[in-house]
Symmetry: C2
Subunit: 331 residues, 2 copies
DNA sequence: ATGAAAGCGCTAACAG
DNA sequence: CTGTTAGCGCTTTCAT
């Protein structure tokens, strides 16, 4: 039993494709198709379990009801969770998610971007490191519905769903200072993304505001290409420098550091406090103690979908920039 | 500058659509298109940045170069990681991933399944709880390329990529017995999936083989609808029963239990050993100590893609059943 | 109340 | 060496 098309159905029933199409799209009454014919068709549809070919529909309509979700790595819990929520929200609206991981590689991002556009996704939710790339610019010029989250290129105006970086980071560090922290180090992956720079600014500001020593050597940058090895070295530096607090700019580096601490300095896990931008469930019980800045994942997803839906519907992009407030979790 | 189609290009250049199409598909030489015409077209293509409409291509060819990835929850690290690897492997082959989370809901799974099929995905990688559902049966009957992983319905023959359950579970528990464990409890989510049953069988077998007391009350099942509350109650039971080892049937319940232990029984974290089917990175340094059975994620992904590719290419499904060996991680 | 026919963008067999 | 044409499955205008 091969798949039936509208044409087959029409032939089998001795009616025209048009009639079938009208009935299928619930325009039977509107188009004055007799009740009898409608029932005939509907019954047959069920009987043969007719499934419309969405590709043909898409070609005709110019829409696919598919949204592209482009992130550095879909297996990163942050992107996976947001992806999941977006998937659910879109599902309600009859949309599907096509995913792509860019690995923060420009070339891959551009290829994926083009593939997505060619595949006629109706819109794009994207965490890009290369917002000013040719591919994105060209899409922007075509007024392609897009919303950017997590990352921003301040030089490019677009729809952004972001989270405050500097102030919350400063505030979190302030808590540790209030509790007596004196020597505060920072460990970050290479801040080639704007938001990471802002988080580091928050760190610096906290030190300045409290008149703490501005020791540039306590600001350690990890080599992204060999995170574990490099983090180990930098962590060692900070530990030996005698810091009582270490600040991290994202959850990945925090998790790595927790692991390293437990492996290499188990005797020190209760002497040091971690501050992490981005939360992870394990922070609830991991040692060292972690004060974290939790991004409002639900809200990021919700706003992204909202804006995207609006742009698709109205066909006008207003370059909305939304900055959400993260939540400080003390432990 | 709106998007150009092949027709536009042909008109602009005063050649026919066919010629353009041939050149685009690198059949220029084969079809004896003059070098000059080829260059003319290729140059123009670049100039206007022509992007072929994949939807039209798909309609014509009957293939979309898209694979559906259907899992209970894409934000679960296990599925997210496998998804990521599959994405990469497929990318090499020119395929893309359409994702769907079923939430283990039959209705949602069937809807997604149909949507995917209608959208003409070329194949499906799926971790389903309802392998014997109508929707799946109907696809199977149409010889639709599918490969199942993680979960099996022994009553349905299909392409399965699985991991051994019973023996590894038994073996992991054996290690704890060798080290002196006497009273071994088990905590599991409701084992409505076949593999969970096998894991529990492994637990029982380990007890039998070692002549340990078969106390059915030490086998605690958590209510899936309120995991945290239920797990807390069951964990309490086991702790009070004085177990020295607790066995878990998947990583989710292990993670929950680790969290609960640290929250509620911090004084006991070093007195009890956990055995977990499924590994998580945090087990490296979490307390209680966790002996885990790590699923070979890379291999699962690789084999799934292999089989799927073969089925798509040969158009014949051989109902291959591959059982991979997990890796015991002692800590 | 229903049908014929054009067309979405692309491919490819067939004709010159 | 290149062009004409039919057709993938669907929608929709216009005609009857």
């Amino acid at each position: 039993m091969k798949k039936k098309s509208i044409k087959d159905i029409a032939q089998d029933l001795g009616v025209s494709k048009t009639t079938v199409s009208f009935v299928l799209n619930k325009k039977g009454d509107e188009k004055n198709i007799s009740k009898k014919t409608q029932k005939l068709i509907l019954d047959y549809i069920k009987e043969v379990n007719y499934q419309p070919n969405q590709i043909a529909k898409s070609l005709k309509n110019g829409t696919t009801n598919t949204i592209g979700y482009l992130v550095p790595d879909i297996s990163n819990p942050f992107y996976a969770k947001i992806g999941r929520i977006i998937e659910d929200l879109l599902w309600e609206m009859g949309y599907h998610l096509l995913i792509g991981s860019t690995d923060e590689k420009k070339e891959k991002e551009e290829l994926l971007l083009n593939m997505f556009a060619n595949r006629q996704v109706d819109g794009l939710v994207i965490a890009s490191c290369f917002i000013s790339s040719d591919a994105l610019e060209s899409l922007a010029k075509q007024n392609f519905p897009m919303v950017f989250f997590d990352r921003e290129d301040p030089a490019v105006s677009a729809n952004y769903i972001l989270v405050e970086n500097k102030a919350p980071m400063k505030e979190a560090i302030q808590r540790t200072i209030d509790k007596g922290a004196k020597k505060i180090g920072l460990l970050s992956i290479t801040p080639d993304v704007y938001s990471l720079k802002l988080r580091i600014d928050g760190y610096k500001q906290a030190l300045i505001d409290n008149g703490l020593e501005q020791d540039e050597s306590l600001l350690r940058i990890v080599d992204n290409n060999q995170i574990k090895e490099s983090a180990q070295k930098e962590l060692k530096y900070l530990i030996e420098a005698g810091v009582d607090v270490i600040v991290f700019t994202n959850n990945q580096i925090t998790a790595t550091a927790i692991w390293l601490m437990n492996m290499l300095y188990p005797e020190k896990v209760d002497e040091i406090t971690f501050v992490s931008f981005d939360n992870l469930d394990i922070f609830d019980y991991s040692r060292p103690k972690v004060i974290s800045i939790a991004q409002p994942i639900d809200n990021i997803a919700k706003q992204s979908v909202n804006i995207l839906e609006e742009v698709i519907r109205t066909k006008v992009s207003k370059n909305t920039r939304i900055e959400l407030k993260p939540k400080l979790i003390e432990r």
